[in-house]
């Protein structure tokens, strides 16, 4: 078996062992979704009126989709690397005949697998219980959204690696990483669609890679973009993926060099 597949499976088993932290994580995800779901449900209670151009079903689908994308995209174990670096334990990863990024991606994917499965079940149950009006997209839109989500996964993975590399230069970066993570969640639309924000702020955020994590793919699915906008968005998203990948490679090369120089 491929060694990365093996890493994936081993990590999967390990996660199934950690039931307590799984429950905690699900409750956290569920309460957030419930609070956002009912907030929007209340704001869009009049079915004739939309909100910011979102119809009732579009907004409810955004919230439920956000639950899925949080599990699928905004999940990373890269921050464990920060800890490993700070503890001087990176060497044992570097010494193995494995590509560090591929190894880390296998770990991430196993995390995502468990979370997506859980989140999908929750979303289905919520949608059923509260009879959520779901937006059903044209298969082509769904496909395009799928392409975009794939890119989002890679994009977040590389962003995570860039952030985790901070461990090479400071042992006290965990707090900042948490803050940056929160900021990214807000800027990606993982709490609410960016259209809600004041125009200047929303425009400024669009210049960053973060909206491509959640906001963009969801809006592709909700068919709120023109074909030209989708094409332009996908190109920019690909550009960001490549950019962040290069940045991650570059910064890790420097980091590892300085790590080895210190004999860590």
């Amino acid at each position: 078996m491929n060694k990365y597949a093996h890493v994936f499976l081993t990590s999967l088993k390990q996660q199934l062992e950690r039931r307590a932290s799984w429950i905690m994580e699900r409750v956290r995800s569920l309460t957030l979704i419930l609070s956002l779901y009912f907030l929007w449900n209340s704001l869009l209670s009049d079915p004739t009126k939309g909100f910011l151009g979102y119809s009732h079903s579009q907004m409810m689908t955004y919230v439920l989709g956000l639950a899925l994308l949080r599990a699928l995209v905004i999940t990373s174990r890269a921050f464990e690397l920060t800890w490993e670096i700070a503890q001087g334990r990176l060497s044992h990863l570097l010494m193995r005949p494995m590509d560090l990024f591929a190894y880390q991606l296998s770990l991430d994917l196993s995390d995502k697998a468990v979370r997506v499965a859980s989140a999908a079940l929750e979303v289905a149950v919520l949608a059923y219980i509260f009879d959520a009006p779901l937006f059903v997209a044209h298969p082509a839109s769904a496909l395009l959204a799928g392409v975009s989500v794939t890119l989002s996964v890679l994009l977040y993975f590389f962003i995570g690696l860039c952030m985790a590399s901070s461990g090479f230069w400071s042992s006290e970066s965990v707090g900042f990483l948490w803050a940056a993570g929160l900021l990214i969640e807000f800027a990606s639309g993982a709490f609410f669609p960016l259209d809600v924000l004041p125009d200047t702020l929303a425009h400024a955020l669009r210049l960053l890679p973060f909206p491509y994590l959640v906001y963009f793919p969801l809006n592709v699915y909700l068919e709120r973009f023109s074909d030209a906008e989708i094409a332009q968005g996908l190109i920019l998203q690909s550009f960001w993926v490549v950019g962040c990948w290069l940045a991650a490679r570059w910064i890790w090369r420097i980091g590892i060099k300085s790590y080895q120089a210190e004999g860590g």
Binding site: I23, V27, F38, S42, E172, W178, A179, L201
Partner: protein, 265 residues
Amino acid sequence: MRTLRRYARIWWRLAAMSFSETWNTRINSLGWLLGKLVRLIFFFIFIVAIFKHTDSIHGYTLPEASLFFLTFNVVDLLAQLLFRGIYGLRRIVTEGELDFYLVQPVNVLFRVACQTVDFLDCVVAVPVLALTAWAIAQLPAGTVTPGNLTLYILLIANGTLIAFAMHVLVAALAVYSQQMENAIWLYRDLMVLGRFPVDIYAKGMQMVLTFLVPIAVMTSFPTKALIGLLSARWIAYALLLSTVSIGVSLWLWLKALAHYSSVSS
């Protein structure tokens, strides 16, 4: 009175020690603080921004909706400031620190709850309180009476007491089972439901949040009382709830300690 003064001094000592711990890792702490502020500010911007496109959230105006959100923060901050130690229960139980607390002449629950005092939350309290004052000032003239305001503060205190009871309950569970020391984080995750007025939720959920996991009583009741939407009956219920829940949780805590003393090896 002497006991009170003594406990105040011990609390002060613990607070000072927590502070120097925070200060030791000040760069890291600054990061955590920043995160807390980011969360507060973005949610506040979100609420204000919503009102650019609508007049009300479930019939509540901007200052009212802000007050629900801010009051949730006030109760949460008070709990963090006063009972933060419960979040360290894992270390306290598994590393045997509890044994030291038990052989020292200080109330064990007090020691557990106040072992750490979260100073970052003190900093966050500044914008929260400022914004709360701003939101109260924005309410239409005549809404806020001295009576309402007193009731508001009273119900916040009452909410903090219920929060205390929930913390003690979880602590009792953890000490009893010597597992689930992290269960207190569930409380924090559930509390998130109190960010918005409880009225937005489905009826069944409202019942749960009022009677079963009384987050509504802790976070929504004070604001409702302030804007004159809470009947005397509900106020009585809130006071009764805190009394009963504190009684029950303290009783369970003593049970748990007794159990600990018969099983720990």
